[in-house]
């Protein structure tokens, strides 16, 4: 079972440098009370043998590992890449390595991944949990010395969090559509077990009621978040006796499904149907006509999460903090007056 390791240890460096193990340790860790001459000798020996400290052994003594984890619910979502990149760029100058794991939106796999990270004694965790209501999630989060929730709401976990203000962007989008004359607007969004979708649903009903437009449950779909789900939901909504004249997709996967569905039906944008995407992607950025979008700064999200985590690691007892980042609606050319008005 035990696999051999041809690893250079402190002991060998010590022998090479002609000093004791503890002196090597001190010299290598920039501690005081080492003569410069000795320090040089140690450094030379260490370099010569290409010594690499064993993190496992060190962390057994110190309790720290210099690594933090990122668990994302869906790695195939390109948005996450921007977040991971920004987090990495914040953490790595501070000496932390970022380890990413993917739950594929499966709460039980996610639990396993968290356990794997926890057993590796990572110094912290940034997590976009698949299901905020999963049994034991708060405890699993609390197992970490430091944890930051990524646009998730798990009150019992008492963790720091970075949240997007989905309400503002979506409200502006709805206002824009209503201003154009739309009275039946559909929202296709993801599972209510994630904060983003929950807020969108709430916002949708609030705004529709306030703006005095159709506010029917049939026009607001909350499903899983795959492309296929989006396709299916859009199809059903368009088959309603009174179909909507505008559709908002709550995330990029659903938007891809929406896009495919209207393409397959031969609908023109925006003449036959107005559409709005939440999240900027390659598709929304490059399409002609330009597509209306509710954007947010994902790099800022990742950066803020990483910074919150670092602060928490430094100061474990501080009260949990939330950071709320804006979303912005950007009108482009995928919305227009509703078809009935256009015909008139």
């Amino acid at each position: 079972m035990a696999r051999p390791r041809k690893t250079v240890t402190l002991k060998e460096v010590a022998r090479e440098a002609g000093v004791s193990i503890s002196t090597v340790s001190r010299a290598l860790n920039d501690q005081p009370f080492v003569r410069d001459e000795v320090r040089d000798r140690v450094l030379t020996a260490s370099k010569a043998l290409s010594y690499r400290p064993d993190v496992a052994a060190r962390s057994m003594r110190t309790g720290t590992t210099g690594a933090v984890g990122l668990v994302v619910s869906d790695i195939s979502n390109p948005l996450f890449a921007a977040i991971a990149k920004a987090a990495d760029e914040t953490l790595s100058p501070r000496g932390y390595a970022l380890m990413i794991a993917n739950s594929s939106n499966d709460a039980s796999h996610e639990a396993e991944l968290m356990r794997a990270f926890q057993q590796r004694r990572l110094d912290g965790l940034i997590i976009a949990a698949a299901d905020e209501g999963a049994a034991g999630l708060a405890e699993r989060i609390a197992d970490f010395q430091a944890a930051v929730l990524l646009d998730r709401d798990v009150p019992e976990a008492q963790a720091d969090s970075v949240l997007s203000d989905h309400r503002t962007g979506l409200t502006d989008a709805l206002q824009h559509l209503v201003d154009l004359g739309h009275e039946r607007i559909a929202l296709i969004t993801g599972t209510a077990s994630q904060r983003g979708s929950r807020v969108r649903i709430q916002t949708y009903f609030d705004a529709c009621r306030r703006l005095k437009v159709a506010c029917e449950p049939a026009l607001c779909r909350s499903e899983q978040m795959t492309v296929d789900d989006g396709y299916q939901s859009v199809s059903e909504v368009l088959d309603l006796p009174e179909p909507p004249t505008a559709i908002i997709a709550g995330n990029n996967q659903l938007f891809a499904g929406l896009f495919a569905a209207i393409r397959d039906r031969g609908l023109r944008i925006p003449e036959d149907l107005s559409i709005v995407a939440c999240e900027e992607t390659e598709l929304t950025a490059l399409h002609r006509p330009p597509l209306d979008v509710v954007r947010r700064d994902l790099a800022e999200l990742g950066r803020a999460a990483a910074e919150l985590l670092l602060e928490r690691i430094d100061e474990p007892t501080r009260a949990p903090r939330q950071i709320l980042l804006p979303t912005v609606f950007e009108a482009r050319a995928s919305s227009d007056r509703p078809p009935a008005e256009l015909a008139a």
Copy 2:
């Protein structure tokens, strides 16, 4: 410095169960020679205290960590997500956790990440190196007990590798364009320090020569691989005295740049210009008209890499193996006869 860890140890479980530490270890690791009654007692105690083994301590003894690393050159490339997912799905049933890290195509950051993984004594590494020619890369790879290269060529590393047969798909694409009557075809591809681009360049010149069409260096661009690079290269190629009538983009980022450039110039596809993308993405899949594409099975790539790695871990001395996976050209509707012929 030392951060306290409120961790349940074997010792405490042993006390709780009223047995010795080693018995607990045996019981928990499904080893023989433990009475069922005792095993049950241990399991109960372990559960009651919610004992979690310390991977660092264990790995210090066994030399294994149960974790493997994946280093990608660009996490913002959605293709990698499919690979990572497939690799994860192969590894996790076998008890391995996959840790992903992103080099952002920066060879020195990549070296750091590899060091971080190596110091954590990961059992293996799957890597899509940013620069095949980076100094010391082969040594860094050899530092790992097991390593698999992902579509990269680093002969000195003597590692296993999973490669895509870029030649076949691209050759078929070129043949298709030439059959349509194109005589000036441009290739926009990435840095020659990665196998994929190198093969494409070679294939391009080989095929153009064989097919007796224009084969000028000015039509073959090898740059970095960002969207902006693609945009820039395409612009330059289209500004040539004799511009191409068809353009092939060597990856999805470059394709996005290509797409943006022709959109900004108001060129119609395929009437004004024929285009082919390497790699299927949201954009190529959803666009109207459907876009010609050179596809490959990314999940298979990830799966094969993971399997190769597992085999290597089990059998460290085996001779290195390569697996070559196909690419397929799929003609859709973004290629047509060249503009001159269409006008005729």
